[in-house]
């Protein structure tokens, strides 16, 4: 356990992007929102209060989305480089001269990509959203939009954060085989892990399309990217709202966006469990690669 902590710290020393990327994302979002304030948003007076309420919830929930997307790319680059990079600069000989098993070393990289990086992304989102809130309040201070600041309240904020961490936890399991694939490629690729990691699935997709006219491979890939959303979130729950009085207007808003959380369909889906099985196999291959290949 102590060793694992040191291994995680070591990953962080090497790949600062894990922290820097979410900070940059936050900065871009802040600057973007500020610019929106200066250039007053075109306000549509016909927009309904319900719509506004939904928008507010939507904004609060989706604020973390850019962080997660950026994190996906960071994790991709990180994993591709991890085992390949240490072979390329031969530092693997230094790391392997220490009493740390290859399984522990590979696990630390996997945990960094699947747990540490997305958690940092979600935490940065959670920490910076309160900074954006006042800007929104200024931007939408006019009468028609006055409902927005009200929606943007502490409880929505807290709920959104809970939702992000739920998504993070689900992502750990759903994206496990993807990360394991990139890790295995990084462990075995003779050179250029990017080509080895991305070309074979891409080529399979093209060949299948050309030869059989079907796109099973393509479906699998796109399912792995966003197929978990409808399985892990019951978005229909958003419609179940309560009657709330805001500014003398009655409107329907979801009582609680946490109603969206429903992991049961996900847990019942074969895709999750098959993915985990494939992922374990790929991790095993990655560990064997770390053990067997010391040169790039």
């Amino acid at each position: 356990m102590k060793t694992l902590c040191w291994l995680l710290r070591r990953e962080f020393w090497e790949h600062r992007a894990i922290l820097i990327a979410p900070l940059i994302t936050a900065a871009v979002l802040l600057v973007g929102t500020l610019t929106q304030v200066i250039i007053k948003p075109a306000q549509d007076p016909t927009i309904s209060a319900t719509k506004l309420a939904e928008l507010a919830v939507f904004f609060a929930t989706c604020y973390a989305l850019p962080f997660f997307i950026v994190n996906g790319f960071v994790a991709l680059f990180y994993l591709m480089d991890s085992l390949y990079g240490e072979r390329k600069d031969r530092s693997v000989l230094f790391w392997r001269s220490l009493p740390v098993s290859d399984t522990a070393a590979v696990s630390a990289k996997l945990i960094t990509a699947l747990v540490v990086a997305p958690c940092l992304a979600a935490l940065t989102a959670a920490a910076t959203m309160p900074l954006i809130t006042p800007i929104f309040k200024v931007a939408f201070a006019s009468e028609h939009y006055s409902v927005l600041p009200l929606m943007w309240n502490a409880s929505n904020y807290a709920n959104a954060v809970v939702l992000w961490f739920y998504a993070t936890v689900v992502g750990v399991f759903w994206f496990f085989p993807v990360c394991a694939w990139f890790l295995a490629v990084s462990a075995w690729a003779p050179k250029n892990p990017f080509l080895w990691g991305l070309v074979p699935p891409g080529a399979l997709f093209v060949v299948e399309k050309l030869v059989r006219g079907t796109s099973w491979v393509g479906d699998q890939i796109s399912n792995r990217i966003d197929g978990w959303l409808p399985l892990a979130f019951n978005v229909n729950a958003a419609g179940r709202g309560g009657d709330v009085n805001v500014d003398q207007r009655h409107m329907m808003i979801p009582n609680n966006i946490l109603d969206w959380i429903d992991p049961r369909p996900l847990l019942a889906s074969p895709g999750l469990w098959l993915g985990i099985a494939v992922g374990l196999l790929l991790v095993f291959l990655a560990v064997q690669g770390r053990r067997y290949r010391t040169e790039a």
Binding site: L7, W13, D89, S91, L93, F94, P99, T294
Partner: protein, 303 residues
Amino acid sequence: MNPPNEIDGTSAAPVIEARGLVKTYGTTKALDQVDLSIGPGRIVGLIGPNGAGKTTALKAILGLAPYEGALRVLGLNPYTERARLMQEVCFIADVAVMPRWLKVRDAVDFVAGVHPRFNRARAEEFLAKTEIRSGARVKQLSKGMVTQLHLALVMAIDARLLVLDEPTLGLDIIYRKRFYDTLLNDYFVNEDSTEQPRTILVTTHQVEEIENILTDVIFIARGKIVLDLPMERISERFTQLVVGADRLNDALACGPIHKHETLGRHVLYFENADRKRLATLGELHTPGLADLFFAKLDGGAGL
């Protein structure tokens, strides 16, 4: 389960024991039926030309590559039990394998964190004697400093076996000298530890610079062990004869293993020869390792 041999404190058991070690790359045999036995407390030089199998042998010993044959290092199978083995074995593969992005301070922290036998104070004491700043990254250090850093880390580990593969490659002469001085004074002769004597296995091209520190020498060529001898037995087994042209034929009749000519005089090498007889022909010397290496590996060429 059999207890590993560290249990018996006398530790007459060899530190490295190989029987019929084979490693093939495609059709080339990098190691061909290698038998080795290295006892505790020895400083062994593994010497051979490029591609002779030195690094392959070390890789097998360090669990960095799979192999065929029987190999035990400190009673462990290095390939399957590498992580455990590395508690007792240190190695410097060669210079410049320290990751470039690593900070000196972090390197010390990390090794202290994962290595149960790492003595942090000792590493810091060693580093304090150098010009290495603890906030520097490896990429900011000179080649010599990187080796010093690596050495500082390795010296602070209370290991039973230290393996050095071309440790001074690319270093200038001052660093090389200092490297081996440090190795001997701070590592091999360590008063404050241990029950177990330390063993060092070193490979290098620069035969001369390790000649005086070795207790044993192993020559390897084309994947086979050509010579495996304690240093003190070299003088009884090998003889160098410097002879003038007039006595050359007499000397050749004694069956030298190698001959070369310098400045009109002939230098002949003999193995297990009758020294009394040779003494009547010319000057006798004990060959240096470099000469011996050349004589053994160049074989009968020149005869």
